[in-house]
């Protein structure tokens, strides 16, 4: 099991990404992420005049009917990682890595995975505005650029996810994979609208909802003066309100889960205390055993 805090302390992000991917892939019966240039799609009844080389003779022997195999031409998958680097992502619970460090691990692992299966990965880092953009390209050199950008990313400013998503979607010209890694403390309707737009455009959209256990459960005792990391607003609260806080937090998570599911998006709740390889494995299993495309 990989410890997120330990991994985030390692400066070699490429190594960390590789270790994370290996951890995620170990135990799966078959890696569903090998790319094929031509991939079997479906059977259909044979029609006169069709090329006999596509007839599945074994099936004919079993069923006494002639079926031809249809293939779908596949291209390299293009993934755009959209990473929230606002100030709220700097939060670090009592244990584990900060949310940004965790997001960095997930993004690096996905980029590494895509690159080593010959696909293209890109990166968008944003807070109030887009701070870094790397288009989706294959190759190790580009992977290093992505990892370097991720390594140099520090939390800062407020969050403006819809605008960043819109820009990333527009720049992802052909259909691809859009992965949003954020704590989603933003305009929910605006973010969902952009994600749904991406899905309508044919993109495969995944949301990694990065949270810490502490902010979900409120473990602090007594009176606490809390300060919003992005707005600087200060409030005084106490343990007596922890139950209501937890209820609202769970409702927030549940709302995001339901809205993503309803929109056909993949939603992954990534708590920073969970090993990143487990989170990645959960994501891969959630997507099914098909190739990433």
């Amino acid at each position: 099991m990989l410890d997120a805090a330990l991994l985030s302390a390692i400066h070699d992000l490429e190594f960390v990404a590789r270790v994370t991917v290996e951890g995620a892939l170990s135990g799966l019966h078959r890696s569903p992420f090998h790319g094929y240039s031509a991939e079997f799609s479906q059977y259909r009844h044979y029609r006169a005049g069709e090329d006999l080389k596509y007839v599945d003779w074994k099936l004919f022997a079993r069923t006494d009917r002639i079926y031809t195999k249809q293939f779908r031409e596949t291209t390299n998958a293009r993934m755009q990682l959209v990473v929230d680097a606002s100030a709220s992502m700097s939060f670090r619970g009592a244990a584990g890595a900060s949310k940004l460090e965790y997001a960095r691990l997930i993004a690096a692992a996905l980029a590494h995975l895509l690159t080593f299966q010959g696909d293209a990965a890109g990166l968008t880092v944003y807070d109030e505005q887009i701070r870094a953009y790397l288009g989706s390209r294959p190759g190790r050199a580009h992977l290093r650029a992505i990892l370097t950008t991720l390594a140099n990313t520090a939390p800062h400013g407020r969050t403006a996810s819809p605008a960043a998503l819109r820009r990333a979607i527009d720049l992802l010209r052909s259909r691809g994979i859009l992965v949003l890694i954020s704590d989603l403390y933003d305009d929910e309707d605006g973010v969902v609208a952009e994600l749904r737009r991406a899905a309508r455009m044919g993109h495969d959209v995944t949301v990694f909802h990065v949270l810490t256990d502490d902010e979900m459960t409120w473990p602090w005792r007594g009176d606490v003066e809390v300060e919003d990391s992005e707005t600087g607003r200060r409030l005084l609260t106490s343990t007596t309100r922890a139950a209501e806080y937890r209820a609202r937090m769970q409702a927030f998570v549940q709302r995001w889960r339901e809205r993503c599911t309803a929109a056909g998006l993949v939603y992954v709740l990534a708590t920073t205390t969970a090993p990143p390889d487990h989170t990645l494995k959960e994501y891969l299993l959630r997507r099914g055993r098909g190739p990433l495309r």
Partner: protein
């Protein structure tokens, strides 16, 4: 029964509210924490930070008890027990007045004084040349002394006139009076040398004769020049002043003790830093103590064996006349004149004035210098120790919880 020697200190019991007030007024500083968002903390979740229940009522009560003990100790409680009352009754506060006048000199021995003061608890020894006025001082001191039987002991030759029944009656009831004569019953007859007095008819020679039975005073017109008084003023004013003083009466001026009076003259007389202790020094001191000229701006100096008086008053005013009379009367020593008396107060009169001290009055505890507040101080210190232990243990629990939370 318990009494309080300083009940005003009960007001300090209000300080018991101190810890509670401090608790309520102190702004509870909640630890600050930066959260990713406060959107899940609604405004109504804010906790009141001022008014809140005490976090540790036991500790608060302990601190209040410490302050209460200290406040009660400051009020100086006193337990009035029979034993304490008996101890007070056995104790005698004594004021010993020793007559050190010329007439008594040589009669009052140190051994007698020591014997009189030895058994007093507490005791004060008052040496005086005026026994009558010292009685008041002794009475005042005794009235402020701790609870005890109170007694005034007078060691004197008891010249006739040195003490009267009126003086004795000023001594408060309950204070004993013991008069111990230390001189032969009656001294030898004495004559006072001639004293020149100013009167309406001019200067008179006054002669006095003291013996055991009577005092004989004779007046005779005096011949000779009117010398010894120099008033620096216009002659009409000087004449008017002399007439006023002669009408009132005063000791006549003397060429051997000259007096110079100056009114509103520049360059006031100043006393030398090391004055010559001749007659002018004592006369000047007596003059300045004269009640009749209290408040009159006067400076006195002895210059060439003459008493020079500078006054910042109008020479035609009544104050100027009072000053002339005071200056003339200040020259001879009245106390020295009194010492010529040879008659003594009879022993039967002294016995009639004497009385035994009474037991302390019930209200005598108000003067007590004792207090049982030490027990309360001890209790406060003990509670302070307990509070320290409780506080440390509470702090240790807090640290453990904080460490667990961390």
């Amino acid at each position: 029964m318990i009494v309080w020697l300083y009940p005003a200190a009960w007001a300090s019991l209000l300080a018991v509210a101190g810890p509670m007030i401090v608790h309520l007024l102190r702004r509870q500083r909640a630890p600050r924490m930066v959260l990713p968002t406060v959107r899940f903390i609604l405004l109504r979740d804010q906790s009141a930070v001022r008014v809140r229940m005490p976090s540790d009522p036991g500790l608060l009560l302990l601190r209040a008890a410490i302050i209460a003990c200290a406040a009660l100790a400051l009020a100086r409680p006193l337990f009035l027990s029979d034993a304490r009352s008996a101890a007070w009754a056995q104790r005698t506060a004594r004021a010993v007045i020793v007559d050190r006048s010329d007439s008594a000199r040589g009669f009052v021995s140190d051994e007698a004084v020591t014997a009189a003061t030895l058994s007093g608890d507490p005791v004060i020894e008052i040496e005086t040349v005026d026994v009558a006025s010292s009685l008041k001082r002794a009475s005042t001191w005794l009235s402020q002394s701790p609870p005890a039987r109170r007694e005034i002991v007078v060691l004197s030759d008891f010249q006739h006139g040195s003490l009267t029944g009126a003086d004795v009656r000023t001594v408060p009831k309950g204070i004993g009076l013991r008069l111990i004569p230390f001189a032969p019953g009656t001294g030898a007859a004495r004559d006072v040398p001639s004293i020149r007095m100013l009167a309406t008819d001019g200067v008179l020679n006054v002669r006095a004769h003291f013996d055991a039975e009577r005092t004989v005073v004779s007046y005779q017109p005096a011949a000779g020049p009117f010398e010894g008084l120099d008033i620096v003023a216009p002659p009409p004013i000087v004449d008017r002043l002399n007439r006023v003083v002669s009408r009132v009466g005063a000791f006549a001026p003397s060429p051997t003790q000259p007096v110079v009076l100056r009114f509103q003259q520049p360059g006031l007389a100043t006393t030398p830093s090391s004055p010559v202790r001749d007659w002018t020094f004592a006369a000047g001191q007596r003059l300045l103590r004269t009640p009749a000229i209290a408040g009159v701006p006067v400076k006195v100096a002895g210059v060439a064996r003459a008493l020079v008086i500078d006054a910042d008053v109008d020479a035609q005013s009544l104050e100027a006349a009072e000053l002339v009379k005071a200056a003339l009367d200040a020259r001879p020593d009245p106390e020295a004149l009194a010492e010529f008396e040879t008659a003594r107060i009879p022993a039967t009169v002294l016995a009639g004035w004497s009385r035994e001290p009474e037991s302390p009055e019930p209200e005598a505890w108000q003067q007590s210098d004792e207090s049982d507040g030490r027990w309360l101080w001890a209790a406060a210190l003990m509670l302070l120790g307990v509070e320290s232990v409780v506080r440390r243990s509470a702090g240790a629990v807090g640290e453990r919880e904080a460490a667990r939370a961390a």
